[in-house]
């Protein structure tokens, strides 16, 4: 197996995730796209770890999984809060940051 096939797979997933983050209005969908991005990164970690024969790649993939779990938890909490305040999770209507 070549290393580059995994890296390319990972970059495809990453870019699809980016598209999802940018193109989706629904908060939960954006979170799902972020999961795609994180998984793409994980594939890279493990692939490079295998290439260099270094266990650190897998260890950090595990850390990323743990952090992703935390991120989903906090992200969903925020989305629930938005939903409760605005009765919608349409992110295009969340624009109170405007200058």
């Amino acid at each position: 197996m070549l290393l580059v096939q995994f890296l390319l797979l990972s970059s495809v997933l990453f870019c699809i995730g980016i598209y999802g983050v940018l193109a989706r209005k629904n908060g939960v969908m954006v979170l799902m796209s972020i999961e795609l991005i994180l998984n793409a990164v994980n594939i890279n970690f493990v692939a490079f770890g295998t290439m260099t024969n270094n266990i650190a790649g897998e260890v950090f993939a595990l850390f990323v999984i743990a952090i992703a779990a935390a991120e989903v938890g906090v992200g969903l909490a925020i989305i629930l809060l938005i939903f409760r305040n605005r009765n919608s999770i349409d992110l295009s209507s969340v624009d109170s940051l405007k200058g």
Binding site: F6, F14, N26, V59, A61, F63, A68, A69, A70, L81
Partner: protein, 163 residues
């Protein structure tokens, strides 16, 4: 090797198609289910790379917990179970262009750098090796992650609770 490459190809194909469905489908529940397919595919790739423990953890944590959490989010925000018309931004060309450009740049860089790098054949790692590494070399990041998880737990409760 051929078998591995064949499996890689099949899984990767399924993953990419499912990932497209995740970001294009009009049904939130379907998107979550397509996401399950992608995540399972990632676990499969981990197995191909010889990272058993990460693959199993991927299935346990992602498919077992994260997707369920996402489905709960869908439920609590009262998304309709059927198709929704209003899921996407009005302008989807710009994101597509950006993603395509980024893919182009990454593809060029990756192929340019790692064109012929072979992966070592016998590099299966098991849980014992991973745990040795975590609890010896990376104990401080491990503790940091546990603190982060705790903080996220408390933070999620504080943010989401009703007054």
């Amino acid at each position: 090797m051929v078998a591995q490459n064949v499996f890689f190809g099949i899984i990767a194909f399924v993953m990419i198609c499912s990932a497209f469905k995740v970001v294009t489908t009009k049904n939130v529940i379907h998107a979550a289910l397509w996401l399950v397919v992608v995540l399972a595919g990632v676990a499969g790739q981990f197995l191909l790379l010889g990272a058993e423990f990460v693959g199993v953890t991927q299935i346990l944590v992602y498919i077992g917990a994260v997707v369920v959490l996402l489905l709960f989010g869908v439920m609590l925000t009262k998304a309709s179970l059927g198709e929704e018309a209003d899921l996407n931004m009005p302008n989807r060309v710009l994101p597509a262009v950006i993603a395509a450009l980024m893919f182009g740049v990454m593809t060029y860089a990756l192929i340019d750098t790692f064109r012929d790098t072979e992966l070592p054949r016998e590099s299966v790692t098991n849980a014992a090796m991973v745990s040795d590494s975590i609890f010896a070399d990376y104990i401080v990041p491990f503790e940091a992650v546990s603190v982060l998880l705790l903080a996220a737990l408390i933070g999620a409760v504080v943010v989401a609770r009703k007054e």
